[in-house]
Each structure stands twice: as C-alpha cells, then as structure tokens.
C-alpha cells in the first residue's frame, strides 16, 4: 500500500449549532482542522465532543452551519471514522473486517495491502481469527488497521483508546501517530496526557453550550516522550483548566 501524500486541505466547521435532547450542545461554533496536523479536542464527558466529531463525519446533521474543505471538494468520501467502540463485525475475520470498506463499496478488496497493514499493527498471526477471540488491545489494533485501510486524507477518532489499559494505550498511541503522520486528524479525548502526546494543536471544549478555546501547541513532534517533564507540567495545567471549566459550567 502506497503511503498517502500529506493532506493538502483544511477542514472547517462554520457557524455550527446542534441540539441534542432539547439542550443546545453548541451554538454558532467555528473550528478549523489545519491540513496534515493532529488536532486534539479535549473536554469533560458529556460536553458534546463526540457530537461535534459526528457532525464533521456527516453522521449528524447540524441545526445550523456547515462543514467545508478549503479546496471546495466534498469531505464525505475523503474521511475515515473510528468510534469509541472498535465496531468490528463479529462474523468476519480480522482480515474481513480490515477490508470491510471495499466490500461495502462493491470494490475488490486489496488483500495484499490489508496483510501489509496487519503486519504493521502486529496482527499477522490473528488474520483469520474472529474478533471474539481477540484481546481488547488486539481488537483496537484491528480497528486501527481498518481505519488505515480506508487510506483517507482526513481521519476522525472518537476516544479510540479510552477502553484500553495504560500500557496497551501508550503503544497504540505511538502506532497511530506513526501510521497517520501527514494526515489531517481529529482526536477527541478526555485524557490530557493523550492529547499532549499526540496533538499538534490541543483545544479544550467546555461549557453549556460548549465553546472551543484557542489551541495549545506543545513543542516537539508527536508522539512525544512521556518522560519529558515539560509535558507532565503541561498535563497539570490542562487538568486544572478542565476542572475550572467544569466548575464554571456547574
């Protein structure tokens, strides 16, 4: 599978409002995902991060506003989405799940490409197993391989590593950062450390209706080293900021 070139267009959300169960989640929100960068959206549970990501993915229709690309081409066929659950289909093997997109579009699945990706995420030995026989970390690796198999310039990830144990999570973060370098990525997370490891830009989303604050841009290229004292200090600041935001909202 050829490495995709660096993504060349920005994705912008303009003037977006969304109601959920009667409450206004956010109102006239503007937000941009700069081309080829990892943007992390950090915020407390229930603030509307997932809904915001789903809005960009085209899975929910906003009450107002639009999502546009800077090159004026449609976004939908150029994005891949990875949800909170691994969403592996239990009746397909790992290989079948990784090549699902092609099958759903009626295309011929690129089996060689899929096997190469499985090798990169370390699942070669599990190729013909069904998801039920995999560990949590293996399942999330398979989901990551499926997302990469789509080979899209824009990748939206909704807390993809939140259900994993700390060690598996750290490994998968590194893997995702390597494999998705050069693409436009939006990672929604509630974990400040994850955002600091992976994000070129980190936005905090807080309040009711939610606002998105100006980005924090940590130094150095992701995935950043967990031993870096500056990174840990930043984590402290972010946690304090999140706590303030939550109190202000309460």
């Amino acid at each position: 599978m050829a490495r995709a070139p660096r993504t060349s267009f920005d994705v912008s959300v303009r003037n977006a409002s969304l109601r959920y169960a009667g409450a206004l989640l956010f109102d006239r929100l503007d937000f941009t995902l700069p081309a080829g960068q990892w943007t992390c959206l950090l915020g407390p549970s229930g603030v509307g991060k997932s809904s915001f990501l789903r809005l960009i993915a085209g899975l929910v229709v906003p009450d107002r506003g639009e999502v546009v690309c800077s090159d004026r081409q449609p976004l939908a066929p150029r994005l891949a989405w990875m949800g909170q659950q691994d969403n592996l289909l239990p009746w397909l093997t790992v290989l079948g799940n990784v090549t699902l997109g092609a099958r759903l579009r009626g295309e011929r699945p690129d089996l060689a490409g899929a096997e190469a990706l499985l090798a990169r995420v370390g699942l070669t030995g599990q190729r013909d197993q069904r998801p039920a026989t995999l560990s949590g970390g293996q399942r999330q690796r398979a989901a990551l391989a499926r997302t990469l198999m789509e080979d899209r310039p824009v990748v939206l990830m909704d807390e993809p590593f939140s259900a994993l144990d700390a060690i598996t999570r750290a490994r998968l973060q590194v893997l995702a950062a390597q494999l998705l370098a050069g693409r436009t990525v939006l990672l929604v997370t509630h974990d400040p450390l994850e955002a600091l490891r992976l994000g070129d830009r980190i936005h905090v989303m807080a309040g009711h209706p939610a606002r998105i604050e100006a980005p924090i841009c940590p130094a150095g290229a992701p995935p950043r080293d967990l031993h870096d004292p500056a990174l840990l200090a930043r984590q402290g600041e972010l946690l304090a900021g999140l706590a303030d935001a939550q109190e202000a909202a309460a």
Binding site: A57, G58, P77, W81, N87, L104, G106, R130
Partner: protein, 252 residues
C-alpha cells in the same frame, strides 16, 4: 449422546405412565400402557412410516415456504421503511386470526391433499420468522451503521453485509420457534380434512378406539418434531459460529 439426562427424564415419564395405568386400572381403550404402545409402534411400523412420511413432507415444505416468505417480507420492510406502516399491522392482524379456525376454509380452497396442510404450516411459521428477523434488522448496533455510512456503503449493501448478518441470531430464534410449531399446522390441517398423514391416522384410530395406534402416531410425530428441531438447531449453530449463544455453548 454424552448427556444422559434427557434419557433419564424419558425413562421417568414412562415409569410414571405405567404406574398410573397400574394404580388406576384404567381400561386400555382410554389409556394404553406404554408397553402396548411400544408393541404397536413395531407391529404398525409400515403404516406409521407411510403416514409419517406424508406429514414430514408437509412440515418441511411449510417450513421452507414460511421461512422464505417471512424472511423476504422482513427484508422488504427493513429496506423500504414506507412499507412498514402498511405491512406491520397486516402482519399482526394476520396473527390474530386463529389458524385453527381457518383450517376448514383452507381445506375448501386448497383441497384435501398436501397443499392445504402446507399453506396452514406456512401461515403458522410466517409470523415468528418475519417478526424475529424484522426485529433483528431494526436492532443493528448503531456504531456498525455509522461505520458503514462513513465508508460510503449503499443502503442495499449495508442491508446485506451488515444488518442481515447482524440479525441472523434473532432470525435463528424465529426459525427455532417456527420449527417447533410447524407440526401443529400440518396436523391441524390433517384433522380437518385429509386421507393421509399422522393427523388423519390419529383421528381414524380414535374413531375405532385403537387408542394405542393413536398414541403410537403421537409418539412418531413427537420424535419427528424433536429430530427436526435438533437438526435445525445444529445447522443454525454451524452457520453462526460467531453468535453469542454459540460462543456461550462452546464455552460450557
């Protein structure tokens, strides 16, 4: 058979039956003892096999027809949501008509032969299959549908590659219920009007006070229904090695 429990239960029931006959001294033409029924099973084997085969064919044809028609209507309702408000009440309404009450009419319309019994079985099987599959199709994991959407799947491909496989365990439950009730349809049809089949044999024997023949026919019917159920159940398990109930079974 590694599990002896079903055989033990069966033996217990036979003993209870024999004890009841001994204690009450009930005459043979009311309740024949189990040994007499066993003897009849052997002596009347050709007769029972002949009528049993006819009933079996009715059950199998009804099962295939009912499952096919039920599956097609569930898929149609799932794929064409505008159909739902029209078809769903019709489905429920159809289920409120007791098939037993329809039986004489069906015999009138479709004759004394095979057709009326097959139609009766189809009518009984159709509802549990259609309802179970439609329910399964409506309950697809939302994340899978989201994934299919972001992958650019058409509705038809989403239906056949995501929703239908996801609904197969529910469909399987419907087919299991259908397999269990299918013999009822066939036998009721035979009671109302026929010249062959186990239902006919039972009525015929009953009228002549050959109660042991009636019991023998009943036992053949039960054995057929049970064998069919086990067969269908095994087949479903083999077809769906990923289904939760299959995984739970293999874990035991």
């Amino acid at each position: 058979m590694s599990n002896p429990r079903p055989l033990l239960v069966l033996a217990g029931l036979l003993l209870l039956w024999q004890a009841l006959v001994w204690i009450t001294g009930v005459p043979r033409y009311l309740l024949p003892p189990p040994w007499l029924v066993g003897k009849t099973l052997l002596s009347e084997a050709p007769l029972l096999a002949h009528h049993g085969a006819i009933t079996l064919v009715e059950i199998l044809l009804g099962l295939v027809g009912g499952v096919l028609i039920g599956a097609v209507s569930a898929l149609a309702m799932a794929f064409l949501p505008p159909l739902q408000p029209w078809l769903l009440p019709l489905l429920v309404l159809g289920q409120t008509i007791p098939v037993f009450a329809l039986a004489p009419l069906l015999v009138l319309w479709f004759g004394y032969g095979l057709a009326s019994k097959v139609v009766m079985a189809i009518l009984i099987i159709y509802f549990p299959v259609a309802a179970a599959l439609f329910d399964g199709l409506r309950r697809t994991e939302p994340g899978w549908l989201d994934l299919a959407r972001t992958m650019g799947a058409t509705r038809l491909r989403t239906l056949f590659r995501v929703r239908l496989p996801a609904a197969l365990p529910a469909f399987g439950s419907g087919v299991r219920v259908a397999t269990a009730v299918a013999p009822i349809g066939a036998v009721v049809g035979e009671w109302v009007g026929s010249s062959a089949g186990l239902g006919y044999l039972m009525l015929h024997a009953n009228a002549r006070l050959q109660i042991e023949v009636m019991f023998a026919a009943l036992i053949v019917l039960m054995a057929m229904a049970l064998a069919l159920y086990v067969l269908v159940d095994r087949l479903l398990v083999r077809l769906m090695p990923w289904a939760p109930e299959t995984l739970a079974r293999s874990a035991n």
